[in-house]
């Protein structure tokens, strides 16, 4: 028996070692044979009807980052009837493998959003190597222009657009982050409208401005949210940090720095007309003031700020309701709190335009900062 095992073991070892001879035949391609795609832009095509123009931003491998004078990007674009076809054609224009696995941003043209999104988004979710944590954004002008724009603060070996969205660089409530998987689940779900950030370029072409957002509507024109609306929406639904708010009361001007925002809501149907009870709690400090402040008056500032902020939230909610969009996902919550039955979602569609909002704003200022 022991001899039998010995033979088996040694022959298996040999068989296991044999594949080493095939090493040169592996699927691996070295880094000098790859070109990394770091951004994809999709525009409607001007040449082909119902086609797309796909622009790729590619980063060339550089031996030493320190010696590179500036960022070395290459841009390619191609018009085709589908995204996959365009990328196939682009492969014939590059001498290296197009590596999509490192891509972290997909920029769409605004005009594409009112069409059937599935047709061109399908490519990105179907391929296994494209990350589902890719950021999605909308270009204010065209996707091609936005993706090929290099702002002045962009340093070698970093891509400015990633830093905006990945919450390790800038963190601002104006910047909304939507991942590809999030976008997909929202587009396909009943009861929520997906939101995307809008990327624009400033007048003298030196920097990006990302402070607005857009809410998609199924096969209709999307609705844009202004800076302030984006800020409120983002802080309420994503608990985005760094919210600031200016209070003006008689001679007193103050800026509050809110660091924590918590929002809870409940759909109440059985007491009188349907309503949504929303409770917002914010914690923060006073960041700037034109007068000396008394720390004992914090409660007073709380109530002043709460009143004003409540108004803004109400404005946002009624705007969303008037446009019949639901980026917060109230419809989802409605479905999530009732046992499933036929026509549940249609029921919600009837309720939503008439629902009233009851916002309770609770501001807790902790201190006046380092000075009184």
């Amino acid at each position: 028996m022991s001899r039998y095992k010995k033979v088996i073991k040694s022959s298996l070892t040999i068989v296991l070692l044999l594949p080493l001879l095939l090493q040169a035949g592996c699927a691996f391609k070295d880094i000098d044979k790859r070109v990394f795609v770091v951004g994809v832009g999709v525009d409607p095509s001007e040449k082909i009807r119902d086609g797309f123009k796909v622009t790729l931003k590619m980063i060339k491998p550089v031996g030493d980052v320190k010696q590179a004078p500036s960022q070395t990007y290459a841009y390619l674009s191609h018009d085709s009837e589908s995204v996959a076809e365009a990328i196939r054609m682009l492969e014939t224009r590059v001498d290296k493998v197009l590596d999509m696995g490192h891509n972290r941003i997909i920029i769409l043209n605004e005009k594409l959003l009112s069409e059937d999104i599935d047709t061109f988004m399908d490519f990105f979710t179907r391929r296994g190597d494209i990350q589902l944590i890719t950021y999605m954004a909308v270009a204010e002008t065209t996707a091609e222009e936005t993706i090929s724009f290099e702002p002045e603060t962009e340093t070698p070996a970093s891509i400015a657009l990633y830093n905006f969205f990945d919450q390790t660089g800038t963190e601002s409530p104006y910047v909304l982050t939507t991942f590809l998987f999030e976008f997909r689940r929202q587009v396909l779900s009943k009861g929520i409208n997906s939101t995307l950030p809008i990327i624009s370029i400033n007048g003298d072409e030196t920097a990006f401005i990302i402070n607005k957002s857009i809410v998609l509507k199924k096969e209709e024109k999307p609705v844009k949210l202004s800076e302030v609306e984006t800020k409120y929406f983002n802080s309420l639904s994503h608990n985005a940090a760094g919210f600031s708010y200016k209070i003006e009361e008689e001679d007193l001007i103050m800026v509050l720095n809110i660091d924590t925002v918590k929002m809870k809501y409940k759909i109440v149907l059985d007491e009188g007309p349907p309503r949504i009870d929303m409770k917002v709690t914010k914690y923060g400090t006073i960041g700037e003031s034109n007068e000396r402040l008394d720390i004992n008056n914090l409660k007073k500032y709380d109530t002043i700020a709460a009143g004003e902020m409540k108004k803004k939230v109400m404005e946002l909610l009624t705007k969303l309701q008037k446009n019949d969009i639901d980026p917060f996902g109230f419809g989802l919550r409605y479905r999530a709190t009732r046992l499933s039955r036929e026509g549940l979602f249609e029921e919600w569609n009837r309720i939503y335009p008439e629902i009233t909002f009851n916002v309770t704003m609770d501001i807790n200022l902790k201190s006046t900062g380092a000075i009184e």
Binding site: L16, Q167, F179, R335
Partner: protein
């Protein structure tokens, strides 16, 4: 209860958590998966209890030995043959599904043959180990891999991107008739105890399941089952997941490790489950091989002093695997697995329990005689 028994059951639960079960469960999401899950927890644990307590009457014996001494040959031979084919096929489908996963997400350019070959070589080495070594291997791999899996799952449950509303929508589908396909797929993953048909040889002192042990197992099973179904819902969305082929891979790709060594969790995740799947397939094929050789053993088929029966079976396994991996489509594979879960597995379990019961009766009728 012996700790190795836990590994036996837990490893098979975890392997199927990624491969086929989630898709079957999600496809029944609007037609009764949730009540099916509740039933599956009960059924899975009852069957586990019965199998373990039946085997505890035969310390240190595998099914072939038990049947040989207590059951007529005309019944035991076809039964063992049938069981060995079942176990081979279960292992084969796991192998092919994981091959597909690797081919789609890790090495899209590699030939499917190379992947299968690598798998098969490692597993073949495992098959020829003794039952005891397989247990030790399973323990080592389990302990290495579990921290990663738990880490990823904790990361997922506390991720800001998970939306619990989708999970609540899924729970709200509880008011439906249980779905048999979901029920059988969910029960199947608890069937690790059935591996005792060979692995019982290792347990010379297998005790009846204790209350504490069963409670612990129920807890694990409930957690694994609920996580398998509900966690992908939170990331993929209730309405959007239906057409996902590998819901768990998609889910792990949606988890972002902001400050991690690598941002994409999916590679850690696939790696961990790959290790578990290798252990599972090794166990299943080891069982299949042992059962097969207990029925068919060519005494004359020799090369020097080495009997070539087992290597011959191995080569048969390889050929079938290669052929299946190339010809099967992922959809027909799912269909076969579903058929297997809903029809073959209940029959197998029934046959297993009946034969054990008969054997016990046979043993009991002999015992009093010897005592007297």
């Amino acid at each position: 209860m012996n700790r190795f028994l836990f590994y036996l059951i837990l490893i098979s639960m975890m392997t199927y958590m990624v491969s086929t079960t989630p898709r079957t469960l999600i496809q029944g999401s609007t037609s009764g998966t949730v009540p099916a899950l509740i039933l599956a927890i009960i059924a899975g644990m009852v069957v586990t209890y019965i199998i373990v307590s039946q085997f505890s009457h035969f310390p240190g014996q595998g099914l072939p030995e038990i049947l040989k001494s207590h059951i007529p040959k005309w019944f035991s031979t076809p039964l063992l043959l049938f069981l060995s084919i079942v176990w081979f096929y279960v292992g084969l489908s796991t192998l092919i599904i994981y091959t597909f996963i690797i081919n789609r997400f890790l090495l899209p350019e590699m030939s499917i043959y190379t992947i299968v070959l690598t798998f098969v070589l490692v597993i073949t080495y495992g098959i020829f180990m003794t039952t005891k070594s397989i247990f030790y291997m399973s323990e080592i791999i389990f302990l290495i891999v579990i921290p990663f899996i738990i880490f990823v799952q904790i990361k997922a449950y506390f991720s800001p991107s998970i939306n619990y509303d989708y999970i609540r929508i899924a729970i709200m589908q509880v008011n439906q008739m249980p779905n048999y396909r979901s029920f059988s797929a969910a029960t199947f993953i608890a069937m690790g105890a059935a591996n005792l048909i060979i692995f019982n040889r290792f347990f010379t002192k297998l005790q009846k399941p204790t209350r504490k042990g069963m409670a612990l197992l129920t807890l694990f099973f409930t957690y694994i089952l609920l996580t398998t179904y509900f966690l992908p819902m939170g990331f993929g969305g209730f309405d959007a997941l239906n057409n996902a082929l590998y819901p768990w891979i998609t889910t792990s790709d949606s988890i972002r490790m902001k400050f991690g060594l690598i941002e994409r969790v999916v590679f850690i995740f696939i790696g961990a489950f790959l290790a578990l799947s290798v252990v599972t397939i090794t166990m299943q094929w080891h069982i299949s091989m042992q059962l097969l050789s207990s029925v068919i053993y060519f005494k004359r088929f020799k090369w020097k002093s080495v009997n070539l029966t087992l290597p011959f079976f191995t080569i048969c396994f390889w050929t079938i695997t290669m052929y299946r991996a190339k010809t099967v489509t992922s959809n027909s594979l799912y269909k076969i697995v579903e058929f297997f879960d809903s029809i073959i597995v209940p029959i197998t379990i029934f046959l297993l329990i009946t034969s054990l019961w008969l054997a016990k009766k046979g043993a009991a009728s002999k015992c009093p005689d010897t005592k007297k």
